[in-house]
């Protein structure tokens, strides 16, 4: 478990990291990048699995079930969309002189 100030430190460092990593991205990659970061918050799937895993009542299971479907959609959709876009950049780098 992560508690108190440790959590705050993680939060702060991760926030700066995200800011720094992105600030060097050229405009041409902005849409793939948005899609890529969209994929990365698909890690919510892990949390949704835990939530559904320890659900007990029918209502909890229903919400958890929907949560896992949504999270899986986020992760898989985000990945495929990003991959398809970046694949094109790959092609153009090979095709170019």
């Amino acid at each position: 478990m992560i508690e108190g100030f440790a959590a705050l430190y993680i939060f702060m460092l991760a926030a700066f990291t995200g800011y720094e990593v992105i600030s060097r991205v050229p405009v041409i990659l902005h849409t793939p990048l948005m899609s890529g970061s969209n994929f990365i918050h698909g890690i919510v799937l892990v949390g949704a699995m835990v939530a559904l895993g320890h659900a007990e009542t029918g209502l909890e299971m229903l919400i958890g079930f929907l949560g896992v479907i949504l999270a899986a959609g986020n992760a898989v959709g985000g990945y495929v969309a990003t991959e398809r876009m970046l694949e094109m950049f790959d092609k153009s780098s090979r095709g170019g002189a």
Binding site: V46, G53, G95, G96
Partner: protein, 465 residues
């Protein structure tokens, strides 16, 4: 085992950050997403061995597998099938799903809490509620953004005193949230009302926002979903979720700022005032000159004998799926020794980089593609600027007329090229409803028609020479 799970989560978080970094260069971008993909698969697999997942019976486990299967299948099919031009709304919907998932996690925990379970209390409880609020808003808001971009909902909808309604709704939602966050025990009904209000808030906030502002809004929702995921990570004590969510939250915020800056529209303007409402005034002013039409064959001659042609693609190119034809035209021109460059406005199309994605799809080398700052000094040296379905991003009034709603927005100086050819479907004004003085300029010629068809005519024109 739990130590092993932690190690995998930690590694996943590190790889996500490295993956994002690799996405910062066109050369390594593809490997970046693949890395992140492996990390995601690994993190998902080890989660099956977490006691809270397998420890509560076979039925829960079965539900998890089925849900992952269903969600993955639907998303995979849709993401594979979608046209590149429709990518923005797909990003919106996948992002909304993430927000919904974050809200669902909080909902499960809050329902458990209302049933007497201890979920941590204090700070954890507050963050869980905050994440739920943000996630739910992102979920319903993204759904509206999707509907608008998909064309299911064309009008911007403003109810009477929309802003006051939004504020009231916000206050009520926060009130319910505060009850959930600070009470020792809550009723399931309060949880239900809270989520209902939060979802309604997302819809209400997004409804009045015009289609042109949608990219910024999607980017904002993307950042918000990241934040919601991070907060739910605290609730579950999951470091991978905290780090990945926060990284997305901060990078998404930066991206949103960059986009808003490119449009010269403070984020507060986009969210709280609709673009269309104040632009009608500027359209009425007198414009000197008239729109002059040109035949495709004449335009083809101009371009074929030019030294340098700068192409300004816009949303019209995306709608007409004209990027492949355009690539063919560029090839023809280059074979004749013409230097061809692309000028991309940061908000051309519906997302920053939207045009780049389409041009890359058509196999156009990204060395030919230039940002606004790089290309603007070059327009005066170009014989022809070819504007394809772009409007507001080349409107010179943004430089010249302080009364114009888009005054101050950085624009591409297509009007400074010696000749300007504008491919346009009709005589109407652009997304913002503002008259474009470029179209009336002395050196501008209009080539009316669907972009794909018009470029096809240009191609046959060049071929005949």
């Amino acid at each position: 085992m739990s130590g092993f799970i932690e190690i995998v989560y930690f590694a996943a978080a590190v790889i996500f950050i490295l993956g994002l970094k690799r996405m910062s260069s066109p050369v390594t971008a593809r490997s970046g997403i693949v890395w992140a993909g492996f990390a995601m698969v690994a993190a998902t697999l080890v989660t099956f061995f977490s006691p809270s997942v397998y420890g509560h019976g076979f039925f829960n486990l079965l539900l998890i597998v089925v849900a992952i299967g269903v969600g993955s299948y639907l998303a995979y099919r849709s993401a594979k099938a979608v046209e590149m031009t429709d990518m923005p709304q797909m990003i919106a919907i996948y992002n909304g799903m993430g927000g919904g998932a974050a809200a669902a996690i909080a909902a499960v925990e809050l329902v458990r809490f209302s049933g007497g379970h201890d979920i941590g209390g204090g700070m954890v409880q507050l963050l869980a509620v905050l994440g739920a609020l943000i996630g739910a808003v992102s979920f319903s808001g993204s759904a509206i953004a999707f509907a608008k971009l998909q064309g299911l909902m064309n009008k911007t909808l403003r109810l009477p005193s929309h802003q006051q309604l939004n504020i009231a709704l916000f206050v009520v939602t926060v009130l319910f949230g505060a009850i959930l966050a600070f009470s020792g025990e809550v009723s399931g009904f309060t949880v239900f009302l809270f989520f209902l209000c939060a979802l309604a808030l997302g819809v209400m906030v997004t409804l009045p926002i015009g289609g042109a502002d949608m990219p910024v809004v999607i980017s904002l929702f993307n950042a918000l979903t990241g934040l919601a995921v991070a907060f739910e990570g605290y609730l579950l004590g999951n470091a991978a979720m905290i780090i990945a969510g926060t990284v997305v939250g901060s990078s998404g915020t930066l991206l949103t700022q960059l986009m808003a800056k490119a449009m010269n529209r403070p984020l507060s303007n986009i969210l709280f005032s609709s673009f269309g409402s104040d632009s009608g005034v500027a359209a009425e002013e007198d414009i000197a000159g008239s729109m002059k039409e040109i035949e495709a064959s004449d335009a083809a001659v101009m371009m074929a004998y030019a030294d340098k042609v700068i192409i300004v693609p816009g949303y019209g190119m995306a709608v007409a799926q004209a990027q492949h034809k355009l690539a063919e035209l560029v090839q023809l021109l280059e074979d004749r020794g013409v230097t061809v460059k692309f000028a991309i406005h940061p908000v051309a199309g519906r997302m920053p980089g939207h045009m780049n994605v389409l041009l890359a799809e058509a196999g156009i080398d990204y060395d030919k593609i230039y940002d606004l700052d790089e290309i603007n000094p070059e327009f005066p040296t170009a014989e022809v600027a070819l504007v394809i379905g772009a409007n507001d991003v080349v409107n010179p009034v943004a430089r010249t007329n302080p009364d114009s709603p888009i005054y101050g927005m950085p624009v591409l100086d297509a009007d400074k090229a010696r000749n300007c050819i504008v491919i346009k479907r009709g005589k109407g004004s652009g997304f913002s409803g503002i008259e474009n003085h470029l179209f009336y300029a002395e050196n501008t010629r209009m080539l009316y028609g669907d972009a794909q068809k018009a470029i096809g005519e240009l191609i046959s024109g060049v071929k005949q020479l």
